[in-house]
């Protein structure tokens, strides 16, 4: 049966993944967090129920009927006028209804259990991350740490991450398959996502909603770290990051890929091809949301870093000419 074949393919492919992608976890079938693990279970639960109850009978009966009642087989019974059987009709309707009722319970339970807005159960307070989608890179802001990054979403393993997401440009969709759900990022609006990594590792992160020429390069690495490694990472960013001042943010907001942005910020990229920023104000994220909503190019001065001694405080540049002007 083809459905069984697909099961085989899936179960054969999943272990292959980790081996051939340099330990970057790609799929929720290779889950690295509680949400993805639950989604994987849900996926196989629904698939299993349907393979047995829906596909099974049809894949057995259709070839049997077609062959048994083929034109050449005069031995089979021929009932050209037969068009109705109350019993079969009740079965034809009640079978799918029962299956859908069962599946509906599963759906209702898991939709609530895995609501991406729902904080994850944990004895630790979630790490707050604010995500701004630009063309064609994600800016991850750690408001409590005062830092930000492009290309790398670091998180302590075992501690939930609570994300607020917006877009400074067109619609995008933030997705880390090995950890859990994706959610849209939309201009002037804030969506939420709660994820957690079980253990240290590197996970594929991406945008799944087409947004122009650099779409296919809008990847990032989500990295689960031990709490100590995460603290060290934060310290490292604070020590070596670039202040996110008006000029830098203007470059970030332009329509460019991460690689092009790195070219525009010479000497600022780290050896892993990512960008790290310091002096990030907690006011930046809400200011970007409001500016996008208002169609203003300017961000309020209070939302930007002023740590760069080479530049006067009044140097606030337009934050995004292309993105938020209608």
């Amino acid at each position: 049966m083809i459905s069984a074949g697909r099961w085989l393919v899936l179960s054969a492919v999943v272990p292959m993944l980790a081996a051939c992608t340099g330990n970057l976890h790609l799929s929720f079938l290779d889950p690295q967090g509680p949400v993805a693990a639950a989604q994987r279970w849900h996926f196989f639960e629904v698939l299993g129920i349907m393979a047995v109850l829906v596909a099974g009978p049809i894949f057995l009966l259709l070839p049997f009927f077609a062959w048994r009642y083929r034109y050449g087989n005069k031995a089979s019974r021929y009932a050209p006028r037969w068009e109705f059987s109350r019993l079969l009709e009740i079965m034809a309707w009640s079978g799918p209804i029962v299956i859908v009722v069962v599946l509906s319970f599963i759906l209702w339970r898991d939709t609530h259990r895995l609501d991406p807005y729902k904080p994850l159960a944990s004895d630790q307070t979630p790490l707050r991350v604010q995500v701004i989608g630009y063309d064609w890179k994600w800016l991850f802001i750690y408001p409590d740490q005062g830092i930000a990054s492009i290309g790398m979403l670091a998180m302590p393993a075992g501690r939930p991450v609570s994300m607020q997401i917006t877009s400074a440009t067109v619609m995008q969709s933030l997705f880390i398959p090995a950890l859990g759900s994706q959610i849209y990022a939309m201009g002037g609006m804030v969506t939420r996502l709660n994820l957690e990594a079980d253990r240290p590792g590197r996970f594929l992160g991406e945008n799944t909603m087409y947004n122009g020429n650099g779409f296919h390069q809008q990847h990032f690495t989500a990295a689960g770290m031990t709490p100590d490694d995460f603290s060290a990472w934060v310290q490292n960013v604070r020590a070596h990051g670039t202040p996110l001042d008006a000029r830098t943010l203007q470059l970030v907001a332009g329509r460019s890929t991460r690689a092009a942005l790195i070219d525009a910020l010479p000497g600022k990229a780290t050896h892993d091809g990512n960008l790290y920023f310091t002096h990030v104000s907690e006011a930046l994220f809400p200011a970007v949301v409001q500016a996008t909503l208002d169609g203003r190019a300017q961000l309020p001065r209070s939302a930007l870093a002023h740590a760069d001694p080479d530049r006067p405080r009044s140097a606030d540049a337009p934050h995004s000419a292309s993105a938020s002007t209608p």
Binding site: R6, L47, W82, T169, G295
Partner: protein, 703 residues
């Protein structure tokens, strides 16, 4: 735009940079040259194709015939055939685009050979064409051809309106074709979500091509829906009660209802987007009160019922075909009607499942998820009823049946992936990945396209008087089925491996092997289309051996088989009187088929009208002018449209009469020919000996 401006820029924003090879000549980098060559090649195919048509028509002096016998004809059968011809042309283009995209992704690890912008145009045109200019014209054509004959009518209720709908659809298709040669198409995908398609992010002509071709097509479809629904309500032969209508007609009715209610939201959404783009409104912008979520809701309020507009006629076709080739009455007719109506109603309750990931709460997602799964109930009933139609039948393994087997098995798998997607918590994982692409192709190819190809095989002999070659049909069917499996099953796996849709390139080496399988599958599908065209050529060459003039090659059941092949333009010499379901099967069983009545009457038919082609030409000019901001053309086209309407209002002499004598002569000649035709057994169904008269073998009519 001032008056002076109109004269200052007589061609609007149309300039030499609109030509597909312009960029390549200006900046001859390697990438530009490859993309320029591909685009120029495609453009030349359009131009050369058009030129060849013009030369052939002139060479063989067929312009007059084309105009008076086809373009201006109000005959529903000819309009139907023209719709199907459009569908085949557009299918060929969109399929080549698909192969190009699969080739690009097969090489996508290293970046491939296409630029992101070019790739984005490919997936946008592929989707737009397949939905609006392949599937819609195909099903509209089939319904046009078959439905009036199935209900025993002479034509649709509004024949000229029918021709206008065709003109508008052709104008939309023409705009999409012209975008290959002049300018660029949208890169926003077939659903064109703003704010990406707003002027601030996509300032070019692409989204405007998309907006106006869709607007033309959706207006055509709305009018078609009204026309079909009124025809089914008002034009049925005496005795053809609703519950005696063939199932295909039922699905045509439900599709028409869906067209009437589902197309307007699309027209509104694209009109609002046009206001944003042309006049600086803020319906869907990020700022100043715009909200793209309104577009998503409006679009899918159309988009989901649209899915059932596409699939229901196919369900009808499969119902007819499985019953006919099983030599048995359709099992569970009443159930199938109820299931069709249930799907029609439910299709308006599920649109939110296209954006579970937009951030609404769990209650709402769960409610729409369950509503989506509910559609599985009537669909499941249909599949069981088709299988029970084969049960205790005499199943003939003809080309339509091979497609039907492929359809049922593959459709069940597509339905399963649909149920998975209906679960919001699974959808959060596979939404926007190629898993979703695999799912909707799994419904659209085996469901919609196979259904339409079956209809083409099944009714072709009725329309043209000879059968299609069976062997090449079989080759094509098998290539379609296995090509589909190779092309799309890998995408399910790639989707759960995190590969997003619409990506021109990727950086995971593990995607490569399955991308190659999918590419080979796409090539196999190309072979399938090739053998379909070859089959047509072979069949035309051997048409004299395969004639079925008596009109009933498959031992058919409904009224369209009770006419000659091809039928006279008035369909029935005398309007049949219907006493039950499967009217023609009943007549054959009771031995009262092929009878001539005592009296014949004059038949009134609509006169030819240029309204269709003229409206189409005006629509095309208006769309083209709007796309390129050629305002004088816009104004002229608008005035021409108003003038045409007024002039048509004064047309008084709109019908003509076929005298009773002529009808009688034609009919008696056909009856004599049928009587001279040997009735063949089903064993000889696909052999030259089948001249279109079926030998009596118990075919069964419900009591």
């Amino acid at each position: 735009m001032s008056i002076a401006g109109i004269f200052e820029h007589p061609l609007g924003r149309l300039g030499p940079d609109a030509l597909p090879f312009w960029q390549m000549l200006q900046h001859p980098t390697e990438g530009n040259i490859i993309n320029g060559c591909v685009a120029t090649g495609a453009a030349s195919m359009v131009v050369i194709g058009a030129l060849v048509m013009v030369v052939l028509l002139t060479r063989y002096r067929r312009w007059g015939v084309l105009w008076s016998d086809w373009l201006t004809s109000p005959d529903h059968k000819k309009i139907g055939i023209m719709y199907v011809a459009i569908a085949f042309v557009m299918l060929a283009r969109a399929l080549i685009e698909a192969v190009l995209m699969r080739a690009q992704q097969a090489f996508g690890l290293s970046g491939g050979f296409l630029s992101p912008d070019h790739f984005a145009q490919l997936f946008s045109t592929h989707g737009t064409i397949m939905i609006f200019f392949m599937a819609m014209p195909f099903l509209t054509g089939i319904i046009n051809y078959v439905m009036p004959m199935q209900i025993g009518a002479r034509d649709v209720s509004f024949p000229v309106l029918n021709s206008i709908s065709l003109g508008l659809t052709a104008a939309g298709a023409g705009l999409v074709m012209v975008s290959l040669v002049i300018g660029k198409f949208s890169t926003g995908g077939w659903f064109g979500y703003p704010p990406f398609t707003e002027a601030s992010f996509s300032p070019g002509v692409g989204p405007d091509y998309w907006i106006w071709s869709l607007t033309l097509a959706s207006l055509g479809s709305t009018l078609t829906g009204i026309n079909f629904a009124v025809t089914i309500y008002k034009e049925r032969a005496p005795g053809m009660t609703l519950m005696r209508m063939p199932l295909f007609t039922w699905t045509a009715l439900c599709t028409s209802i869906l067209m009437i209610f589902a197309m307007p939201p699309l027209t509104v959404a694209t009109a609002q987007l046009a206001l944003d783009r042309y006049l600086g409104f803020h319906y869907f912008t990020n700022a100043l009160g715009g909200n793209m979520m309104n577009f998503a809701n409006l679009f899918w309020l159309f988009g989901h019922p649209e899915v059932y507009i596409l699939i229901l006629p196919s369900f009808g076709v499969f119902s007819e075909v499985i019953s006919t080739f099983s030599g048995k009455v359709l099992y569970g007719y009443r159930s199938l009607v109820m299931a069709t109506m249930a799907i029609t109603v439910l299709s308006f309750t599920v649109w939110l499942h296209h954006f579970f990931t937009m951030g609404q709460n769990a209650n709402m997602n769960a409610a729409f998820g369950i509503a989506s799964m509910l559609i599985g109930v009537p669909t499941g009933v249909k599949i069981y009823d088709w299988m029970l139609t084969m049960f205790r039948g005499r199943v003939r393994f003809t080309v339509p049946m091979v497609y039907s087997f492929g359809f049922i098995l593959l459709f069940v798998l597509g339905g399963m992936s649909g149920i998975l997607l209906a679960n919001p918590s699974v959808d959060y994982q596979v939404h926007n990945t190629v898993f979703l692409v695999a799912h909707f192709h799994n419904m659209a190819v085996p469901g919609v396209l196979f259904g339409m190809l079956v209809a083409y095989h099944f009714w072709f002999p009725k329309a043209f008087g000879f059968r299609l070659d069976e062997r090449w049909g079989m080759v094509s069917a098998l290539c379609w089925i296995f090509g589909f499996m190779a092309a799309f099953f890998p995408l399910y796996v790639l989707g759960v491996m995190g590969l997003p849709r619409r990506t021109v390139a990727y950086s995971e080496a593990s995607y490569v092997p399955l991308e190659w399988v999918a590419f080979l599958g796409a090539l196999l599908i190309l072979v399938a289309l090739g053998s379909l065209l070859w089959q047509l050529r072979v069949s035309i060459r051997h048409r004299d051996e395969n004639r079925v003039a008596a009109g009933d090659p498959w031992n058919g059941r409904s009224l369209e088989w009770a006419t000659s092949a091809p039928p006279p333009e008035y369909n029935f010499a005398v309007i049949p009187s219907v006493e039950g379901r499967d009217a023609f099967a009943r007549a054959k069983e009771e031995g009262c088929a092929y009878q001539s009545p005592d009296t014949y009457r004059d038949i009134e038919l609509p006169r030819n009208s240029a309204m269709g082609p003229v409206t189409g030409a005006i629509g095309f000019a208006l769309g083209f002018g709007l796309v390129w901001h050629i305002w004088w053309l816009v104004i002229l086209s608008f005035l021409a449209a108003v003038t045409t309407l007024i002039v048509r209002g004064f047309a008084r002499d709109t019908t003509r009469v076929v005298p009773a004598d002529e009808v009688r002569r034609e009919h008696l000649r056909w009856i004599a020919a049928v009587n001279a035709t040997t009735a063949v057994s089903r064993v000889d169904e696909c052999r030259p000996v089948n001249d279109g008269r079926a030998r009596y073998e118990a075919i069964g009519v419900a009591p």
